[in-house]
């Protein structure tokens, strides 16, 4: 039974957001006996509400509140009001994530040391190491049921993977398999195995894919120590005269505002809303935004170097059948500057249904070059390219000077320019991705530009020194002792791996820390 907490109960920990970060942290705290309230801006849509309908689900669960864009990135031109494709619902973007669950590599925690002083980049080493993270990665993989860990077999390869694998073998790539996926390859944890439905991005109809919406959140609610309040969009974090956080103001689905008091606040609203909330919570004591004495709140926005390669063959592939992203080539995910860039990238299978392929194959394109490709839809194979991008201080989430949301709060503007290293990496990835398909007889390949960002990172970054970032190695604000950040915005650098496993691992680690500090009377 879910616990209802009073608005004036100042003993609760308030978690803002219920995705990979908040949806892990909240239940972890509750299981430790800590009274926890999760405030989720979106609604609660259970598995029975999902449909295999790309545009229908997009309209139902996406974060579509007003945002603006600037900078030279192509997303600002193709999707000027939609810089990110993320979810506004209980479970957050774990509802639509693909399931790829990869650990960061040792060198990726030491970006500045490993890559050196890259001009224009604002690189920094993480204040934690892979060794410190390993026990938490292990717990996260067990909790999420990641394939190829904990003796869980890999998923079977679908048609799209088989094309990738044949090309990888011909090119001599060694690390190609069906991935480490938080999708059950066999029944586990009360959930069945993958039925190869496809539509991983539209919410998993079988529940084989991990999402706290139907895993940790109900378990947390069953403890009686967790309340998940949906349709509760936090618009301001408040503090007392001593500079400690005292509560939050949120708007319910009717726009009525409420004040929930709190013992501590953990911010997990993804890399746009988390810095936006800190900036919108400026006060006379924190004139540049809450926890922003460094000036780094909202800065160093990273979105991964991304792109896709689709290829057409003379025979059918039917790539849309089966698990969307159960296929990976990892050979390029190394730091080998002889390729003309630092950091590395992964190649992962990807398919879109016909409706999304029309919108995303080459956004804005029309005419016979485009429709000739669409005519070959069932003969296509596809892969996503995801690599480490360079943090740049000028890539930033800021408050729009004039545009306001439905609650009167300034909307976020997202500014992004590719770093020359990102461009060099993308060109290399396009070349290698095309080569994979050419090796098995592609008749045409398409270097497809980035989609609206699904991996949003870095805007409240972790740093050893307070002047370099926003939070410490535990995700605790450098400025405010009972304010935490618990999402991907704490990433110091982006690494080449999909971020969810690391967000979940950090949240498990943070829950341990919070409980420890409470038991010692420090929080």
């Amino acid at each position: 039974m879910a616990a209802p907490y009073d608005l004036n109960d100042d003993s609760v920990v308030v978690v803002i957001g219920s995705g990979a970060g908040g949806g892990t942290l909240g239940p972890e705290l509750a299981k430790k006996g800590i009274d926890t309230v999760i405030l989720e801006a979106g609604g609660r849509h259970e598995i029975e509400d999902f449909s295999n309908d790309e545009w229908g689900m997009f309209g139902q669960i996406s974060w579509l509140d007003k945002r603006t864009t600037s900078g030279s990135w192509r997303v600002a031109k193709d999707f000027s009001g939609l810089p990110a494709w993320i979810v506004k619902a209980v479970g957050g973007s774990t509802v639509h994530w693909a399931g790829a669950s990869l650990r960061f590599q040792e060198h990726e925690f030491r970006g500045l040391t490993e890559y050196g002083d890259v001009p224009g980049a604002n690189l920094l080493d993480w204040p934690i190491t892979l060794k410190e993270m390993e026990p938490y990665y292990d717990r996260a993989e067990d909790m999420m049921g990641v394939t190829r860990t904990h003796n869980i077999p890999g998923l079977p390869g679908n048609n799209n993977f088989k094309v990738m694998k044949a090309g990888a073998d011909k090119l001599g790539y060694k690390e190609c398999h069906t991935g480490r996926m938080a999708i059950n390859s066999e029944p586990r944890d009360g959930r069945g195995s993958c039925q190869q439905i496809g539509f991983c991005f539209q919410g998993c109809k079988s529940g084989a894919k991990w999402s706290p919406l139907y895993t940790e959140i109900p378990e947390g609610e069953d403890t009686g120590k967790l309340e998940v309040r949906a349709n509760a969009q936090v618009i301001k974090i408040e503090h007392d005269d001593s500079g400690k956080v005292s509560g939050v103001v949120y708007a319910d689905k009717d726009g009525n505002q409420h004040r929930q008091k709190a013992r501590a606040v953990c911010l997990a609203g993804n890399s746009f809303e988390s810095p936006r909330l800190l900036l919108n919570s400026a006060s006379s004591m924190f004139p540049d935004g809450l926890g922003n004495s460094s000036g780094q709140v909202g800065k160093n926005y990273m979105r991964h170097m991304t792109g896709s390669v689709y290829a057409v063959f003379d025979k059918p592939v039917n790539m849309y059948r089966g698990t969307t992203m159960a296929g990976i080539i990892q050979d390029e995910s190394v730091n080998d500057p002889s390729r003309g860039f630092v950091g590395g990238y992964e190649m992962e299978t990807l398919s879109l249904g016909l409706p999304f392929m029309g919108a995303f194959l080459d956004p804005g394109a029309w005419g016979r070059s485009f429709t000739g490709a669409m005519d070959m839809y069932d003969h296509m194979a596809g892969m996503w390219l995801v690599g480490e991008d360079m943090p740049q201080e000028s890539n930033a989430v800021t408050l729009h000077p004039t545009e306001k949301d439905q609650f009167g709060m300034p909307v976020p503007n997202v500014h992004f320019d590719d770093h020359p290293n990102d461009v060099a990496m993308r060109n290399h990835a396009y070349q290698q991705g095309s080569a994979v398909y050419d090796a098995v007889g592609a008749t045409r390949t398409f270097p497809t530009p980035p989609y609206p960002s699904t991996h949003n990172l870095g805007t409240n970054r972790m740093s050893a020194k307070a002047r370099d970032g926003v939070v410490d190695k535990w995700g605790k604000s450098h400025d405010v002792p009972n304010l935490f950040v618990s999402d991907g915005s704490v990433f110091t650098t982006g690494a080449s791996e999909n971020p969810t496993l690391t967000i979940v691992s950090l949240a498990i680690r943070q829950a341990d820390y919070i409980a420890d500090q409470m038991s010692k009377g420090n929080l």
């Binding site: 449909s51 295999n52 309908d53 790309e54 545009w55 079977p156 390869g157 679908n158 048609n159 088989k162 094309v163 044949a166 993958c194 039925q195 190869q196 439905i197 496809g198 539509f199 109809k205 079988s206 025979k315 059918p316 592939v317 039917n318 849309y320 059948r321 089966g322 249904g353 016909l354 409706p355 392929m357 029309g358 919108a359 804005g364 029309w366 005419g367 016979r368 485009f370 429709t371 669409m374 005519d375 839809y377 069932d378 003969h379 098995v440």
Partner: protein
Amino acid sequence: MRVLDKREKVSRRGFLKRSGAAAVGLIGLSAGAGMVTGPNGAWALEVKNLKPETMATLIQMARDIYPHDRLSDKYYVAAVSGYDAQAGDDAGVKDMIEGGIGALDTMAMAQHGVGYMKVGWEEDRVALLKQIEDGGFFQTIRGGLVVSIYNNPEVWPLFGYEGASAEKGGYIARGFDDIDWL
């Protein structure tokens, strides 16, 4: 491997019967008296708010933007027919479309001596569209079409796309890994 039959299942003549349209028009679209009809009367559309000539030109424009030779006109008609009702609800939409098509016809007349619909080669019509592709009218029409054409479940089988699969048990027993030519 299991492959789909991508042929259209409904005959054009069958569609004609169901739509109740008279067999008029010989080449291309024809318009008049509140009706837009396809060649050989393959389809007919009643318009109430836009000029029939405007709707006929819009349908041709839709095909020129996303030309799929295996798609019969009815899918392009379906993709733009909603603009007639929108034009009735919103004078701004009506002005945008009538104005946009009017300007396109004026350009065609100046460069080819005939209206857009009568310009014979697709290549020449596309050259006209290229001149307006950065404008609001073209972008609105194109942005609407990319959803209304490819999100129409009736066209999915023609591209070999099967749509929703959860209700059918996914593809675990229906060919997720049946590729046989590698």
